[in-house]
């Protein structure tokens, strides 16, 4: 069985991760107070997150992310772990704790040349606008 670890950067029902991990994958969100404290989330933000999770096909498990994922791997004899890409170093640190974790990117919003950083918006927009007005950014859905 595969495991999908969802975090607060991707709580949607449409993402390539679901096809990548397969329909039988177990989907979890870890309710990690250490993470919430580090991000300084208020009660309002936590209620918003919990309401979101209640409408998502996933289990909510309280604990520290690394420990919960580890426990799930053992309990369910997990083959592979999948997680959506996140730029957040806190999530990346958890990901780094698992060898062979599959980090799945969403479909890019626009087609941009790879490996180039555009430090000003007008330069980003000059490239992005070529595909920003296309359905799915010009990518196959």
């Amino acid at each position: 069985m595969n495991l999908i670890w969802l975090h607060d950067d991707m709580l949607g029902a449409r993402h390539p991760i679901f096809e990548a991990a397969g329909q039988a994958a177990k989907i979890v969100f870890v309710w990690d107070n250490d993470y919430f404290k580090a991000m300084n989330y208020s009660a309002k933000r936590l209620v918003f997150l919990y309401e979101t999770l209640c409408e998502l096909e996933c289990e909510i498990i309280a604990g520290k992310a690394h420990n919960v994922i580890h426990a799930l791997i053992t309990e369910h004899k997990i083959d592979k772990i999948f997680t959506p890409y996140s730029p957040n170093p806190a999530h990346q640190k958890v990901m780094a704790g698992f060898k062979d974790i599959q980090i799945i990117e969403d479909i890019p919003f626009v087609k941009m040349p790879s490996g180039i950083v555009f430090p000003r918006f007008f330069r980003y927009w000059n490239k992005a606008k070529k595909t920003a007005f296309l359905k799915n950014g010009g990518h196959d859905s």
Partner: protein, 268 residues
């Protein structure tokens, strides 16, 4: 020991709220426990169905303009930028009609692009302040009167109240408050950014912090300031833009620039 999932079915919203407070007691003492804005895909799609990209383009700077209120859902990936763009494309065949809307979605993509490439930019000054002041001239901590929305500047206090009570602010309001914090009160942008991330349901380290840096001038060519006339132009009726209750804002841009950035004025 087997891990046990948390409940997901609640009879009433208050029951869900109580459960969250039990799971995360460290936030129990917050003044406002829940926003009127609901989380989840159903609420997100209700908002998505109502978007008016053309009107957005014309009215987005007005505090009662046709903004989408989708930001909280986009931030957490509940709906993707792609889904929102695809929906906008359905509303018009003419690119020109929805250009501003698509451009604003692209801003979010841009901030994420920078976060991925430069995570160190999120909490560190990217460039020096262009205010005539150095980093050390700015206070480390957010004053309590700002945190509580008791600054005595009427419109600023109203904007802060909306932040505290709902976890949402119009983009233009964010710029006003950030500018007030950094430039009128001379507080480091990091303190303001941290405060916004605490309250904003859509608080994202990239969009939020890089926007604070833009206002502060550590990621822009000049500091962003505003005046009462500007608030009066864009604010809705319920916002108090009376001169007598917003004295520190009631000046021309030139006078404000001299008053807020005396070192900069000297240097020019």
């Amino acid at each position: 020991m087997p891990v046990k999932p948390e409940p997901k079915d609640f009879k009433a919203r208050q029951d869900l709220i109580d459960h969250v407070m039990m799971l995360s007691p460290h936030v129990k003492s917050d003044d406002v426990i829940a926003s009127p804005i609901r989380g989840g895909r159903i609420a997100a799609h209700e908002k998505l169905a109502q978007i008016k990209p053309q009107s957005y383009g014309r009215t987005r700077n007005f505090l009662n303009g046709d903004v989408t209120y989708l930001s909280s859902y986009i931030r957490h990936g509940i709906v993707s930028l792609n889904e929102v763009r695809n929906k906008a494309l359905e509303t018009s065949d003419a690119e020109k009609d929805i250009e501003k809307f698509i451009q604003e979605l692209t801003w979010r993509d841009f901030w994420q692009h920078l976060y991925r490439a430069h995570p160190e930019w999120i909490w560190n000054d990217i460039e020096p302040y262009k205010t005539g002041f150095g980093r050390d001239d700015y206070a480390d901590d957010l004053p309590e009167d700002i945190a509580q929305g008791r600054t005595g500047v009427a419109c600023i206090d109203q904007f802060i109240k909306i932040l505290l009570e709902t976890g949402y602010m119009h983009n233009h309001t964010r710029m006003y408050v950030a500018s007030y914090v950094v430039h009128w009160r001379r507080v480091k942008w990091q303190a303001g950014a941290r405060w916004f991330l605490h309250h904003l349901l859509d608080g994202d380290p990239a969009s939020n912090n890089l926007s604070w840096q833009w206002v502060a001038s550590t990621f822009s060519n000049k500091p962003y300031i505003f005046n009462l006339e500007n608030v009066g132009k864009y604010a809705s009726e319920e916002i108090n833009a009376n001169a007598s209750e917003n004295k520190v804002l009631d000046h021309s841009y030139e006078d404000l620039s001299c008053a807020l950035f005396p070192q900069k004025a000297k240097g020019e």
